[in-house]
């Protein structure tokens, strides 16, 4: 099956077949990452610009490694070193980047819709590495890849997503992806962090109580509480957050015994997740990180449209 998307702006635009293809492609790339020489010439001569207008360590690193393992030339620009801080518009920044003829721009931006904005204005492929509270497609895909590895199939899984849903692009992309692949989503979080109409985005049920949301779940995904971002009107204290919405050994027992625990990172230990759980037997958090590289290799490969043999 051919991949017909020039951009990856969000999971919203991907079909179940697209997702399947991305995950299958990622699986075949994953093998490269365990070789002695972790490099294939697939994207030799291609230029990738990782434009990160918002602080990020792991996603940027993951995209950068993915590009290098495919032999592409990748260059990073970040919010603090790019000209964005000098008051240049995103359009001008984009046109300047484009004038240097990259093949792919990977963009992380604080404003929802920025990748969409770029895609309308530049000629190369755009991959969304997280835009505002909108989407974070590569994260959802690596989450699905991890679930598939551990559970065999996504279809029929009960997936609990817990935390600040309102500000979470990870939650939105996962809701689209999981719904498309036939999983059911249960959401829980403080009342101030459940956005209006979230049930309409997919196969979603909202629970008031964390314990009801994770009862008999196959997957428990804890979202990061963005300590720096939460205004005082949203939460009384982290102490209370941990008490009612934190995952610990006790409440995890409500999930299926073989449930896996996920977290997109970076974690706030002792807030949304206790160290006993994050380091416990059910955690697959580092698998997520590992799969992140493979999924991003797959995305770069698929949007670049090269006909090369996957792995030599």
């Amino acid at each position: 099956m051919a991949f017909r998307h020039k951009h990856i702006l969000g999971i919203e635009h991907l079909s179940a077949e697209d997702i399947q293809l991305i995950l299958d492609t990622a699986e075949s790339f994953k093998e490269i990452n365990s070789r002695d020489i972790k490099k294939v010439p697939t994207l030799r001569g291609k230029t990738i610009i990782n434009a990160f207008f918002e602080a990020s360590t792991r996603t940027r690193l993951s995209f950068e490694i993915a590009g290098k393992r495919l032999s592409a030339d990748s260059v990073n620009i970040s919010g603090s070193t790019s000209s964005v801080v000098k008051g240049e518009t995103l359009e001008d920044t984009a046109k300047n980047i484009e004038a240097m003829a990259p093949d792919i721009i990977v963009i992380r931006h604080g404003h929802s819709g920025s990748p969409h904005y770029l895609a309308e204005r530049v000629g190369c492929s755009i991959i969304n590495a997280g835009d505002g509270a909108h989407e974070h497609p590569s994260q959802a895909l690596l989450d699905l890849m991890t679930m598939r590895e551990h559970k065999g199939s996504i279809k029929g899984l009960e997936v609990a997503i817990v935390g600040d849903i309102t500000h979470s692009r990870v939650a939105r992309s996962n809701i689209y992806a999981l719904t498309r692949m036939g999983a059911r989503i249960r959401l829980a979080g403080p009342g101030t962090m459940i956005p209006a109409g979230i049930e309409k985005m997919g196969d979603v049920t909202v629970f008031n109580d964390l314990r009801d949301a994770i009862k008999d779940a196959d997957v428990v995904m804890m979202l990061r509480i963005q300590l720096e971002r939460q205004s005082k009107t949203l939460l009384p204290s982290l102490r209370e957050y941990a008490r009612y919405f934190g995952l610990n050994q006790e409440n995890l027992k409500l999930a299926r015994p073989d449930a896996i625990v996920m977290h997109p990172g970076p974690m706030n230990r002792g807030v949304e997740i206790s160290s006993y759980v994050s380091d416990g037997e059910q955690n697959v958090i580092l698998d997520q990180v590992e799969n992140g590289v493979a999924v991003r290799m797959a995305l770069l490969y698929l949007v670049s449209g090269v006909d090369a043999i996957l792995a030599e």
Partner: protein, 426 residues
């Protein structure tokens, strides 16, 4: 003596309950007679056969941006845009730079309108100095020199006591308070209507209660003080209902709806369309239906555009940081005619909402073709098909959400004080 005869059109003037094929004779800028078979030597004649002839349209909510933001619009371009859309009178909001909170700015606007304007301009002064919400403007003098009302549109008066005092003070001068009803704390950093679409797009929502809560407050203050209140751009089911109930109780309140709120919903934001960003935001279909019902049952007194020009650079950015507002003078009439075709309101009601009813809301001496009144006339071809091309608008700014829309009906000739200020053929 300058004479003009508008011949053979279907003259509709809701103020006089008139609907007949008649001729209108205008002498020296004044309507002198309306009747059949009027002829006069040395009169210029406009053939209006097959057209509607109405009092000049009145828009009581326009941002002319002059002084201070002439790169978006100025009095010349804004009033050119008005007559191109069939409007002969506009009331302009005070959020200029400096704010229209004093004699000097009001005089500047009136003089410039006199010199360069294509239509009548009625300045609205601010309620508080600098629209800062802290102290009252000199409303007595402002009224005397030509302001028709007071408003802090765009920066609503948050302090309830301030608003109470403003109403108490304005009432004896006969000034209406024009309110942009939004509770700014509830608006927060929201950029579109709160609901499923905002959630999907990952954009911060503005809940309906931000408008309803502020509308309730101002309606009750009007009830307390007896001051006339005009509520700008009602966009929610709740605020339409609040005004409806207040009118039943005899509260001296009027309100307006914009063409964008009655024609579009929050769905228009999809794709992060910054020309669908305004305050109050485009709402849900349920809200839109409530606005339509309000237009039909008399709750809403006026169709007003909230014409809000912005430069391309202020819209060609990420949705979160784009400016609020859209231009509307040149699309309002066509969108209103669409309501008639859709059976929401009849033609009389539509013309009433664009002429005598808004004039009454702000007590403007326009909006009718009665003998002896200033000869402001709009000739409308209700069937004319045209396509909106933002680049062709007379306004300096092109921020319309209706670019590319197929329209039906338009003003073909706009007469202000007996002078043809717009002719589609030219």
């Amino acid at each position: 003596m300058e004479k003009l005869i508008i011949k053979g059109g279907r003259v509709i003037d809701p103020a006089q309950n008139l609907d007949e094929t008649l001729d209108i004779l205008i002498e020296n800028g004044v309507v002198v007679s309306i009747g059949g078979g009027i002829d006069a030597e040395d009169a210029e004649v406009i053939d209006a056969t097959g057209k509607l002839v109405t009092p000049g349209l009145v828009d009581i909510h326009v941002h002319l941006r002059d002084p201070g933001f002439e790169y978006k619009e100025d009095i010349a371009s804004g009033t050119r845009s008005a007559v191109a859309g069939g409007f002969t009178s506009v009331a302009c909001m005070p959020n200029t730079k400096p704010v229209n909170d004093n004699h000097t700015i009001t005089s500047y606007i009136l003089q410039k309108a006199e010199k360069e304007g294509s239509c009548r301009v009625f300045p609205i002064a601010s309620i508080t100095k600098g629209m800062a919400g802290e102290s009252l403007t000199e409303m007595g003098e402002l009224k005397e020199i030509g302001c028709c009302a007071v408003s802090d549109d765009g920066v609503p008066v948050s302090n309830s006591e301030m608003m109470r005092r403003a109403m108490e003070y304005a009432r004896p001068f006969g000034l209406a308070i024009v309110t942009h009803a939004e509770d700014l704390a509830l608006v927060g950093s929201g950029v579109m209507n709160e609901g499923p679409v905002a959630t999907e797009l990952g954009l911060k929502g503005i809940p309906w209660v931000a408008e309803d809560a502020a509308t309730v407050r101002d309606v009750m203050l009007s009830e307390l003080t007896g001051c006339r209140l005009h509520v700008c751009h009602v966009s929610t089911k709740g605020s339409v209902d609040i005004v409806r109930q207040a009118k039943r109780r005899g509260v001296p309140v009027t309100c307006e709806a914009t063409p964008h709120h009655f024609s579009l919903t929050e769905e228009a934001v999809r794709g992060y369309n910054t020309n669908a960003k305004m305050n109050p935001p485009l709402r849900s279909e349920e809200d839109r239906q409530a606005v339509l019902a309000g237009l039909a049952d008399g709750t809403i007194d006026a169709i007003a555009t909230d014409h809000a020009p912005h430069h391309l650079d202020e819209k060609n950015v990420e949705f979160n940081i784009a400016m609020n507002g859209v231009v509307g003078l040149e699309t309002a009439l066509s969108l209103s005619l669409q309501l008639v075709r859709d059976g929401v309101i009849d033609l009389h009601r539509m013309i009433e909402l664009l002429t005598c009813s808004p004039a009454r809301a702000l007590d403007l001496p326009v909006g009718t073709l009665e003998i002896g009144s200033d000869a402001d006339v709009t000739i409308i071809d209700p069937d004319l098909k045209w396509t909106v091309d933002a680049q062709q608008l007379a306004s300096k700014s092109k921020n319309t959400p209706f670019d590319g829309w197929e329209m039906q009906g338009a003003a073909v000739c706009t007469v202000v004080g007996g002078k043809v200020m717009f002719d589609i053929a030219k």
